[in-house]
């Protein structure tokens, strides 16, 4: 869950229309076009999750983050059968109470609930529970692992640098790689992660 308190705004005096902001937005909230040769930037504030990516990458320093009326990106876990949430988490190799987003403190159970609630691509998952709207780096793969576990496929947005795809997990590493590189202790680490996935569920479900 994340409370959004700032959103992007653009200074058209500085904007050169390079489209970097559009390309780095994880939720496709920005569209840059040209009208009569002049850049036009449309920021959809119904979509913007206040992640700062555009502000941080704009080469012309044309974007700033402005305070907005606070609103929550959250999915109510209690609306869903917890066994269903647990099953989806387990399929993605997570414990429901595991943290998957360090920046927003979003846990696996909420990501699972967001998908059960209809989120079907990464941008929708971000908007549904805030996961991925902080650093924009570390929870990238958990989001994709959850979508895959739920059987959701999506086309990568061509006008974006985001969501290139799911990569290998320790459960995918081939026997040949393990044999050739024993020093990396793949099986031991897989067992450690499995023990977390299989840990008991606390009765105090959130």
């Amino acid at each position: 869950m994340k409370t959004v308190r700032v959103q992007a705004q653009v200074d058209m005096e500085l904007c050169q229309g390079c489209k970097t902001c559009q390309m780095v937005c994880p939720v496709y909230a920005i569209e840059v076009s040209r009208v009569d040769g002049k850049p036009q930037v449309n920021i959809d504030h119904d979509l913007c999750v206040g992640c700062w990516n555009c502000e941080q990458r704009c080469p012309d320093h044309a974007i700033s983050m402005a305070p907005c009326e606070p609103f929550d990106l959250a999915t109510d876990v209690s609306k869903f059968d917890y066994d269903e949430i647990h099953a989806l988490c387990r399929k993605a190799h997570f414990h429901p109470k595991q943290l998957v987003c360090y920046c927003t403190a979003t846990r696996a159970e909420e990501v699972a609930a967001a998908i059960l609630d209809g989120a079907s691509d990464p941008a929708e998952v971000v908007r549904a529970c805030g996961v991925g709207s902080g650093c924009g780096i570390e929870c990238n793969q958990p989001i994709l692992r959850f979508l895959e576990a739920a059987g959701k496929t999506f086309e990568r947005h061509k006008l974006s640098y985001q969501w290139y795809g799911r990569t290998a997990t320790v459960w995918d590493v081939s026997d040949q790689v393990k044999k050739e590189h024993p020093g990396f202790r793949f099986d031991s680490d897989r067992d450690l992660l499995n023990s977390v996935v299989e840990a008991p569920i606390d009765n105090t479900k959130s």
Binding site: N53, H95, Y164, V173, V196
Partner: protein
């Protein structure tokens, strides 16, 4: 009688930190803080070339030229394009001057030796997407590289790289040249993550990589297996077709010790591994022998990266465990560890080790945003000095919850008074980047002098041989590494 406190690393103007004018008192100015020379505590450290004397970076140029003279650059021709790949880490030592000078020298030597005129700088970063832009500007590197110096971030355009692990993703701008030169530094830094396994290779899975790859490292593989990410990228046909050589600023806890360069990254990696475990292993084990303390964070870096004698605070948080020992799967802090606590703060499995209980309180006098740091405030009582700093953290999308777990003090003296009163300890350690030694309170200095000889003996006799054996590194290399 102890020496007076060492000068701390200066504050720095950055969008990731508070205005330096608001940092009205540094920890080193507190009463009873003394400076302990590292050589008083740690045995067998190699000689340092920087800082020292007049702190002239000419010595770095000379060392870089000497190291590069032994490197075969014949694959680079006059018509080639070359990217020097750098990382933000190197700029955090001594204001970044020595690392910047190494980068300038690499450019000059490559141009001179090969006739190549298209040598660019691509500087990767952690999570502060403009940080290397700030360093490039501060050191005039854009002008030096004729307008061809760029900061590259993990959300920039990617390029797929086929590896033994399947497809991973690098940053397009890192690889948009015929050849790449890997220009890094050898300090151990994030031992909790890399465990001194393929330390010299790691940037291929981080600074030069897309967020998908970084997330693979921190979320998909496990705390030790993760280190295979960088190796698999480096060994890919794509990267091997571009790799020219590596050039490292070699470091010890006391400062820069030289420059090492090689076309064989694994040979360089072995030297880095040995030197890192021998030198940093001692100071880190000594930190583990601190029985109780108040830690003051006072350096222009995010919370886990503020450092004392080259050891980052994240490693102090792990100092209750031997993080070099690969038989321990999980350090007290890694991103894997952080995921393994439930929403009440309880570990999900008994194997999760606690954060170093010797840290009784943290006084956050000056540290930056731009890294998810709430874990540290959750696990150790934390007092943040100054409302400007609290407001900065409240605004940061990576630290929205940091101040929910931290107290706020008006000033450093008030924070220390509270910390002394509530912890009952007078042992204080400063993570302030002081060069050549440690700033600590007198009671902690006394403790360190008492325990250091035993720690040095334990590292040399028991721990170092074990660490080397776990990594299949020949102990004879110890004699070859300065």
């Amino acid at each position: 009688m102890y020496n007076k406190a060492l000068p701390p690393a200066p504050t720095r103007v950055s969008q990731y930190g508070v205005d330096p004018k608001t940092v009205v008192k540094r920890g080193a100015e507190l009463k009873n803080i003394v400076g302990v020379p590292l050589t008083d505590l740690v045995t067998g450290l190699p000689p340092v070339i920087f800082p020292g004397g007049s702190n002239d970076v000419a010595v770095i140029r000379k060392e870089t030229e000497a190291a590069l003279a032994k490197v075969d650059m014949s694959k680079i021709t006059a018509g080639s394009t070359v990217n020097i790949l750098a990382s933000h880490h190197g700029f955090t030592f001594f204001g970044g001057q020595p690392y910047a000078e190494m980068l300038r020298t690499i450019k000059d030597v490559v141009e001179q030796a090969t006739g190549c005129k298209e040598v660019r700088l691509r500087a990767g970063l952690g999570m502060r997407f403009r940080e290397t832009e700030e360093y490039i500007k501060a050191h005039g590197l854009d002008e030096y590289f004729n307008g061809k110096a760029l900061g590259i971030a993990p959300i920039d355009a990617g390029i797929p790289i086929e590896t033994e692990l399947g497809t991973l993703f690098g940053l397009r701008k890192a690889y948009d040249a015929d050849f790449i030169i890997h220009a890094h530094n050898s300090d151990v830094r994030e031992v909790h993550f890399h465990r001194q396994v393929d330390r010299a290779v790691k940037p291929f899975g981080m600074s030069y990589a897309r967020c998908e790859t970084r997330s693979t490292y921190h979320m998909n593989l496990g705390p030790r297996a993760a280190n295979f990410v960088a190796r698999s990228i480096f060994e890919s046909e794509f990267v091997q077709s571009k790799f020219a050589f590596a050039c490292f600023l070699t470091m010890s806890p006391a400062g820069a010790t030289g420059v090492d360069a090689d076309t064989d990254l694994y040979a360089l990696n072995d030297r880095v591994t040995v030197g890192g475990m021998r030198d940093y292993g001692k100071i880190m084990t000594l930190f583990g022998a601190i029985d109780e303390c108040i830690a003051i964070l006072d350096f222009p870096c995010p919370v886990p990266y503020v450092f004392a004698c080259g050891v980052i605070y994240a490693n102090m948080a792990c100092a209750n465990m031997d993080v070099f020992d690969l038989d321990y799967p999980l350090p007290p802090y890694t991103w894997y560890t952080e995921t393994m606590y439930d929403d009440h703060g309880n570990p999900l499995i008994p194997e999760v080790p606690p954060v170093n209980p010797a840290i009784k309180t943290v006084v956050h006098n000056y540290a930056w945003i731009g890294y998810p740091s709430v874990f540290f405030a959750e696990k150790s009582p934390t007092i943040v000095v100054g409302k400007q700093q609290a407001e900065l953290f409240d605004r940061d999308p990576m630290n929205l919850n940091y101040m929910k777990h931290a107290l706020l003090a008006d000033n450093l003296d008030g924070a220390m008074e509270f910390a002394y009163h509530t912890t009952g300890t007078r042992k204080v350690i400063l993570f302030d980047g002081a060069a050549g030694g440690l700033n600590v309170s007198e009671p902690l200095a006394e403790h360190l002098y008492k325990v250091a000889p035993g720690v040095m003996e334990r590292v040399e006799q028991k721990l170092l041989p074990k660490w080397l054996a776990q990594r299949n590194v020949d102990p004879a290399l110890l004699d070859q590494v300065a």
